[in-house]
Symmetry: C2
Subunit: 332 residues, 2 copies
């Protein structure tokens, strides 16, 4: 049998085999027990943090990643930017009837590699199979738990007028790579998704007392993070176009397709807000890491405007509006 | 706007409103912060347990419950049967474009009531919107964490020859209620889903030293739990048809539709395996609870056969086979 059938989801023999042969074998670790209702987590000390994310990306595989690596990195990264060390993931897979078993196996293997890279274990899982035409191959949900680093309480509440904004690398790569992977565009290019763990980037800044807040820009891209900061703090945000790293092929392809990379998802970048006097130190630390070599101080918070403003390369100002309708293909 | 649109999932203004006005308002509690990447869980003492379940039931609402209450109870129950006190849930919603906002609001309210009934809080959540024709209205995934009760280590490894099997109430109600709720059958009846928390049932037995293992029979019904026990222990399982509680309308409807209630899902029942000498005490405790008033000792494990055997009402024997193909409508 080379395709997923409804019988793989009915609680019987085929489901047991799918879980044992594909999921448990590939993701196996001492905590995962495919036969238990709940997993026991070896004692975790300290304050726990929990996060959850659903993944519905199309296509399931794209240059630089797939829905499996994305589902691991996305949830790991939400814990990392919150100042926690990621420990365990729970995995839910909603599989559409007709999915190639070989593709599912590739995706689960990719998930196992991403978990290893990120230092997390899959503690428990669940699979459901939905009829053809009621899914898009595979939807994944990952829930992560981790332990908050001692004394670290990052929050948008801590952001003050004059804080600096840093981004850890070029924005829009993931969104562009996924669009290119869709046949509908009939295009190709050398853009790879940036999907990766940001644990090392986050850990590099955690002992800086002026670190206010970190977030990984995913859905809605960099601009949505800037709006979240604006709305939560009441402060304006001003960023400089020339300081925002965007790869040339991303800019070129976005121009052709009519998208703005400032709104396109990243899956391996961090936006950090940090007190002005520690911004340079933070930048030095990021630039010393392979994943932060293209990091940049892109702007600051300010009480002098009440918008999110882009200072353009030509010397003008442009208001970056919040995403409202559906200007972008769905890419997460 | 009365329907979910793709823009409700793009990371922008409509998504923020959906999360704030529907999810955060209804499910709100001190732990849930709709603006944070990860939730902080107030210090939990003891050994943690974690479980995850995806929910794809059709229709979304049915007599006795809906996908929202099911998603809470299902995950709470997996922790309860494992001997843990459920504490927090993470919620992931994959919403299909076109879903009625009013229906979504009803389901989220139902989820809030179920969480209150079960003593758990929704700690964090995520929403995604998929295009029309790539979902079936709403898929939910809930991940639960809880604290294992001191000294309680339930496991199929503990099961021995001659242990008794108990079921806490009639089987097959949920599966039958969901089938009846589907227009395709053109039937109606007074069968309600049994979807409910089993926390009280589980707690009632936890101090019995002879308690080996508990499981809530969901997908694949009672028979699948019996097969899991058989496969994990190598012991045979023998149950008596006359001892297995099944409601008359469930039996009648299953006869008409050609289904076997022994394979139909429950969502508020427990199967317990307990040492022979404590089985009567367990039954007394269950029968004292409203949710256990119809509980019954249905059979035992045995090293005299190597199958799952049903002693029929007519004095014969029937082998209960493991579910193999897809004999049942999908109901979880």
């Amino acid at each position: 049998m080379t395709k997923i059938t409804l019988a793989h989801g009915n609680g019987g023999r085929l489901m047991r085999r799918l879980i044992e042969d594909v999921f448990a074998k590939t993701l196996g670790n001492p905590v995962l027990d495919a036969h238990a209702d709940a997993a026991s987590l070896p004692a975790m000390q300290g304050e726990l943090m929990m996060t959850v994310d659903g993944f519905t990306v199309q296509p399931l595989e794209f240059p630089g990643g797939d829905i499996g690596s994305l589902a691991v990195h996305g949830t790991v990264n939400d814990l990392a930017v919150s100042g926690a060390r990621p420990s365990y993931l729970a995995l839910s897979a909603i599989i559409e009837e007709g999915l190639d078993l070989a593709q599912l196996e590739r995706i689960v293997s990719s998930m196992a590699r991403a978990a290893l890279d990120s230092g997390v274990q899959i503690a428990c899982g669940d699979t459901k199979v939905v009829p053809r035409g009621q899914g898009s191959g595979l939807y994944l949900t990952t829930t992560g738990i981790g332990v908050r680093r001692g004394g670290i309480h990052l929050s948008m509440d801590r952001i003050r007028h004059g804080d600096k904004l840093l981004v850890s690398g070029p924005v829009g790569d993931h969104g562009t790579a996924v669009m290119l992977a869709r046949e509908q565009f009939g295009m190709s290019g050398d853009v790879q998704s940036d999907a990766a763990s940001v644990v090392d980037l986050c850990e590099a800044l955690l002992d800086l007392s002026g670190l206010r807040f970190m977030r990984d820009p995913t859905r809605g891209g960099l601009t949505s993070v800037l709006h979240e900061i604006h709305q939560a703090t009441g402060l304006g945000v001003r960023v400089r176009q020339q300081a925002i790293p965007i790869r040339d092929p991303v800019n070129a392809l976005c121009e052709i397709l009519g998208y703005d990379p400032m709104y396109l998802a990243c899956e391996g970048r961090v936006v950090a807000v940090i007190a002005n006097e520690q911004a340079d130190e933070a930048l030095v630390r990021w630039q010393a890491l392979p994943s932060g070599s293209a990091s940049s101080i892109i702007g600051e918070t300010t009480n002098e405007v009440d918008r999110v403003i882009l200072d353009t390369a030509l010397g003008g100002e442009r208001v970056l509006e919040e995403l409202e309708d559906e200007p972008l293909p769905r890419i997460c």
